[in-house]
């Protein structure tokens, strides 16, 4: 198992390096520079000096080399904009983003999976139809529009929840953004679960279980759930990626102090070290989650061995 983990970790290195390179190259050709967003009317000499200070006067490959060298020591550089180390900036933002991502995923799982099960156990029934129509609808909404509607409804009309912000970090602030973000993975999970359960219900071993004289509830509990979990996990793992992407929109909408909003701000202001750092962290997070899920596979599905 340990060997497996180490091997998987080693395998992520090329991906991470490629991400670094990709983002670096991408942003070395981007028009607009940090200098122009910093001041309205600085004189060109000053700007030049600033570029020098930020190392922007060097050729791209030199900068890349320096960047990778620093990266190896865990240094993501200093933000052009705030002049703070990018690691500090990200560290401050990481927890809210994690909260948001995991809360959305929890919402998606807690609602989507049971919904999918219920739908699959009564295929063709009203429950099935309604929940699947809801699921598809959930997938078809523009995130920020949905967020605004939720905000309008639950904060303004009903007054149940605060409409924005991180507040003191309390749960009530988390609910609206998490739900907004969680709707589409929820919908996807409901559908995946339904499809997985439906498929497993036709599997031979389910017929075996029935031939043992088992009630349908027991069949589901003893034999279907664990098998469905494998498929559900796969969807979850991939959804984490989409979630990180969508978080950009949701964080911006709800003034959520996460990496997503840091990323957008940094992109728009050409704060290249911050952009690179944020994307790198997002990628590392995704890779870590998927590593975790791979480990979980091994726990759930004995056919996958990590000898």
């Amino acid at each position: 198992m340990l060997a497996f983990l180490i091997r998987r970790l080693l395998q992520t290195i090329p991906t991470v390096l490629a991400v670094v390179l990709l983002v670096f190259v991408l942003f070395s050709v981007v028009p607009g520079s940090i200098a122009s967003t910093m001041s309205d009317d600085s004189d060109p000499q000053v700007e030049l000096r600033m570029k020098k200070q930020l190392g922007l006067d060097q050729p791209v490959y030199m900068r890349f080399g320096a960047y990778v060298a620093r990266l190896a020591t865990g240094d993501l550089g200093a933000s052009f904009r705030t002049r703070e180390p990018v690691t500090t900036m990200i560290a401050k933002r990481a927890w809210p983003t994690l909260q948001l991502i995991f809360a959305s995923m929890a919402f998606a799982v807690l609602l989507g999976v049971p919904l999918g099960f219920i739908a699959a156990l009564r295929p063709g029934s009203l429950v099935d139809t309604v929940s699947m129509v809801l699921a598809v609808s959930g997938l078809s909404l523009a995130k920020f529009w949905l967020g605004l509607l939720l905000m309008y409804l639950f904060a303004l009309k009903l007054g149940w929840l605060p409409s924005f912000g991180y507040g003191d970090g309390g749960l009530k602030y988390l609910i609206l953004p998490a739900v907004t973000l969680g709707v589409s993975p929820m919908a996807l999970l409901a559908r995946t679960t339904r499809a997985a359960v439906l498929e497993i219900m036709t599997a031979d071993f389910v017929r075996t279980a029935r031939s043992k004289g088992m009630s349908e509830t027991r069949v589901v509990k003893w034999h279907v759930m664990r098998n469905a979990l494998v498929l559900i996990l796969t969807t979850m793992g991939l959804q984490f990626g989409a979630l990180m992407g969508q978080a950009v929109v949701v964080e911006k909408l709800f003034s959520w102090p996460g990496i997503g909003s840091l990323l957008v701000d940094s992109v728009l202001q050409r704060d290249i070290p911050a952009v690179q750092g944020s994307i790198l962290v997002v990628v590392l997070f995704f890779l870590a989650i998927n590593l975790l899920i791979d480990v979980l596979y091994g726990v759930i599905d004995p056919r996958i061995r990590y000898a």
């Binding site: 075996t208 031939s211 009630s215 599905d301």
Partner: protein, 326 residues
């Protein structure tokens, strides 16, 4: 042995709802199995063997359903039993082994647990006791080192081992009837021999009757005392196993026996051209009128093409469904 047969099936009809209409996937199925008897069901792929077995054990699921007829088990009609009543029989008194030992076992559950479930379900045992009994069951199907094997997952076992596990599950509660639906089709001949012998011996020990389903007429004839041949949803002939091979009565059975080269026949008779059965098996939606074998039958006459034949009881025992039987 009492006079009541263990299983009595009379004029069973199984409907298939293909969305717009119902067609009979099998009809007029009648047979009887005595206690401890071995009974074989052979026939072409798709002729309705498996669904007949599923009807017996109450596992038909939509779009298939019982369309008529009676199934008596131990003298009691069971075709309209409640779900709970059926579960009472299923596994406990009627057990079943399926064709694919790989897919018939839950891949993510240890085999020991899958056996133990039987004792929990039907014998009211605790999981601990059940697990202990599972080890004994595995030992009884001659799996080496059963204490270790109970913790294995299906993929860690070979095909033959898996099928032994299936047998252990099926025989766990000492059923009166074991339905074996092509238990060895996926296995090699040497392994097949192992499994068949194991099944035969265990059932003989416990007085369990076997309903054995296979494509392989040779295998069934070897294993079973009586054999029924199905063709396109109907039983066309039912005989003692030696008779049916030596002197097949229905033209289809005759064709089957003659069409396949038997080991040793070339050595004995030289290479002769095999006898062919012309044409193809009809599709379930396009069964011909009259005798369903008529389009492929050399002896078919007008009556064969219009009116389905009744069963003729043969003097030598058994019956056949043909106007021209030998």
């Amino acid at each position: 042995m009492t006079g009541v047969p263990l299983v009595e099936v009379e004029d069973l009809r199984i409907d298939l709802d293909d969305g717009s209409r119902r067609v009979a996937a099998a009809e007029g199925i009648s047979f009887r199995i005595d206690r401890g008897e071995t009974f074989g069901l052979v026939g072409e792929s798709g002729c309705g063997k498996s669904i007949t077995a599923l009807a017996l054990i109450g596992l038909l699921r939509p779009p298939l359903s019982i369309g008529g007829g009676v199934i008596r088990f131990d003298g009691k009609e069971i075709q309209h039993l409640s779900a709970a009543g059926q579960r009472e029989l299923r596994g406990n008194r009627i057990a079943m082994i399926f064709q694919e030992p790989m897919t018939a076992l839950n891949p993510v559950s240890p085999v020991g647990r899958q056996i133990a479930e039987m004792f929990v379900l039907h014998k009211g045992k605790s999981w601990r006791e059940a697990n202990q009994l599972a080890v004994e069951s595995l030992a009884s199907v001659r799996v080496p080192a059963p204490e270790r094997r109970v913790n294995d997952y299906p993929h860690q076992l070979s095909g033959g081992m898996r099928q032994r596990v299936m047998i252990a599950i099926a025989l766990a509660c000492g059923p009166d009837l074991l339905i074996a639906d092509e238990p060895t089709t996926a296995l090699d001949v040497t392994v097949q021999a192992e499994i068949i012998e194991l099944m035969r011996n265990l059932c003989a020990e416990r007085g369990t009757a076997i309903l054995m389903i296979s494509h392989d007429l040779g295998l069934v004839a070897n294993v079973c005392r009586r054999v029924a041949v199905m063709y396109a949803g109907r039983i066309v002939e039912e005989r003692g196993s030696a008779d049916i091979f030596r002197a097949p009565s229905h033209p289809y059975t005759q064709g089957l026996v003659a069409s396949l080269p038997r080991l040793g026949s070339r050595a004995a008779l030289g290479r002769t051209r095999l006898k062919e059965i012309a044409g193809v098996v009809p599709a379930i939606t396009g069964f011909p009128d009259g005798c369903r074998f008529n389009p492929r039958c050399a002896q078919a006459t007008d009556i064969c093409r219009t009116v389905a034949p009744h069963t003729d009881v043969l003097e030598a025992g058994g019956f056949v469904r043909c106007y021209h039987h030998a």
